[in-house]
């Protein structure tokens, strides 16, 4: 069921207007138009063209030197599914603004084009000059979690040696991203499950924000042995349901509809109780 066309017609902007605003003088309208084009997945070639151009924008700067328009443009391009954006997003990985690099890594993950793997590895190893750290504590030098998640999704098995040290990173969120990534990159199921189990243990963390992040990680990898623990985790039911949805949909890949695996049936019983 795709309701986005309805939302589009309800919204105050039109596609033409958003495209015009993105090229206009008003910086506020420009940054909003970039978000809007992504939100409503306006994948017209013209929209993609001007969003790619917006990745080079120099007009919209924060006091600290950030690039708000580039951030929104990078996020939007991931959602539009146009591979022409890959080279422009790879250049955005060199941006001085931490959040532009983070958005670019996330969008490259969504576009699932392996040509960016080498560049992502360089960023992971902090080998790209001119990239400034995040301003907020813990002032990470690079958006490691976004990079690790992208490498996992892109199947970057050659990068494993670069990834392993991050399992011991001082920031728990980054350890979890590395475990999620290693789960995806490890062909031996028994070894892979050790990484999945790390994430299950992390659900016991005292910090709700971290538990939420781990729920998202477990949903992303669809780790069936985590299902019970996900259902039991103290967190919002809506987040647990999204996580279990990921586990359920992974199960569906192994069966022919309408046949359901025992795992799928078990997950749905858990989900029913969270509604």
């Amino acid at each position: 069921m795709d309701n986005e066309s309805d939302i589009r017609s309800d919204s105050s902007l039109t596609v033409d207007q958003a495209i015009a605003n993105l090229q206009g003088e008003d910086l506020g309208l420009r940054v909003y138009a970039a978000w809007w084009l992504g939100r409503f997945r306006v994948d017209a070639p013209e929209a993609v063209d001007i969003l790619m151009a917006a990745l080079e924008d120099e007009d919209d700067r924060t006091h600290a030197g950030g690039y708000p328009l580039r951030r929104n443009a990078a996020r939007a391009l991931g959602k539009l599914g146009d591979y022409r954006a890959v080279p422009a997003l790879m250049r955005a990985l060199e941006c001085s603004d931490f959040y532009v690099r983070e958005a670019a890594a996330q969008s490259l993950e969504m576009l699932a084009d392996g040509s960016c793997i080498a560049r992502l590895r360089e960023l992971l190893n902090n080998q790209i000059p001119g990239t400034l750290p995040a301003r907020e504590p813990p002032q990470l030098t690079q958006p490691f979690d976004a990079i690790l998640e992208a490498l996992g999704t892109l199947g970057a098995v050659d990068a494993i040696a670069d990834i392993l040290p991050f399992l011991e990173h001082e920031v728990p969120r980054i350890q979890y991203a590395a475990a999620r990534c290693m789960y995806q990159l490890t062909p031996n199921p028994q070894v892979a499950n050790q990484y999945g189990d790390r994430l299950v243990h992390a659900l016991a963390n005292d910090d709700l924000q971290l538990r939420r992040a781990v729920l998202a990680d477990l949903g992303a990898i669809g780790y069936l042995p985590a299902a019970e623990a996900i259902a039991q985790t103290p967190a919002e039911n809506s987040l647990k349901l999204i996580s279990l949805k990921g586990v359920l949909e992974k199960q569906l890949l192994h069966t022919t509809p309408p046949h359901l695996s025992d795992g799928a049936l078990k997950v749905m019983v858990l989900m029913d109780d969270l509604l």
Partner: protein
């Protein structure tokens, strides 16, 4: 026991941090004491989601005795507390929550409320309803759930409507085989057309259950209804009001029928008590 209760309540009242409040509400909820109801109800208004979830769970466990206070909360202009109260009522399945659930399942802007209401509409304690009221109530629940299954844009709400429809299909009386067919036709459509894999999977499971007549029992006790004749009268009046509002022309039946029915049920029940 009373000392135990008052110390648990004091812990909630004196909690000076969010984690302590959460822990205190969890402990109070776990005690399963009816005396805890006012404090658990109060926890729905604290603007502490963790504590509210724990309080909702506790109130669902306590069930029917918590219903009057929950219904009262619905009339207050505290949106958040109202949303939690609806979730608790949906979980309890008490008929006094029916008309509220009918309204919010299709229209509330919070998807967590629509989600809880859709499931609650199916898992209502249907065995408590007097025969004639049952048919009107189930007809309304069916309409609302079909609407949600077809129209809601959130996968989780449609998923919940499937759970609700499955439960309703099991509760529908033999006198209405066409309702069961309507549910099956809706499932058939969703089984291949819903955009969410999770929703399609839940439909396949529901179809398997209906085919093999597997009824998921949530341990419903078959005790008789604790509702008074006045309660039923009010439910029927509200249902009648709702039907009048939503359709100028009724698809079947004369509206006066329901008004007469309300009177006759009240008489029957009054006579029985």
């Amino acid at each position: 026991m009373a000392d135990h209760l008052s110390s648990l309540i004091r812990a909630v009242d004196t909690a000076d941090s969010s984690p302590r409040l959460l822990e205190a509400v969890q402990n109070l909820a776990a005690a399963h004491l009816e005396g805890a109801i006012p404090t658990l109800i109060g926890a729905l208004s604290y603007n502490n989601p963790g504590a509210a979830v724990a309080a909702v769970d506790g109130l669902i466990q306590l069930g029917e005795p918590a219903v009057p206070a929950l219904v009262e909360l619905l009339d207050l202009h505290n949106y958040t507390a109202r949303a939690w109260a609806i979730r608790a009522l949906a979980g309890i399945g008490d008929p006094r929550g029916l008309v509220t659930l009918l309204g919010v399942a299709t229209a509330d802007f919070a998807m967590s409320v629509r989600r809880a209401a859709a499931r609650g509409l199916g898992t209502m304690k249907w065995h408590w309803f007097p025969d004639h009221l049952l048919e009107i109530a189930q007809g309304e629940a069916l309409d609302a759930l079909l609407f949600v299954a077809q129209q809601d844009e959130e996968w989780v709400v449609r998923y919940s409507s499937v759970v609700g429809l499955e439960a309703l299909a099991n509760a529908i009386s033999a006198a209405n085989p066409e309702w069961r067919s309507q549910i099956q036709a809706q499932f058939e459509h969703m089984a291949s057309h819903d955009s969410s894999g999770a929703v399609r999977a839940r439909v396949w499971m529901a179809q398997q259950h209906l085919q093999s007549e597997t009824v998921i029992q949530s341990g419903i006790e078959q005790l008789p209804s604790p509702l008074s004749a006045t309660d039923w009268q009010m439910i029927l009046e509200k249902l009648y009001e709702r039907k009048g509002e939503e359709r100028l022309v009724l698809a079947a039946g004369d509206p006066r029928l329901y008004r007469d029915l309300a009177g006759s049920i009240a008489q029957q029940l009054n006579g029985a008590q």
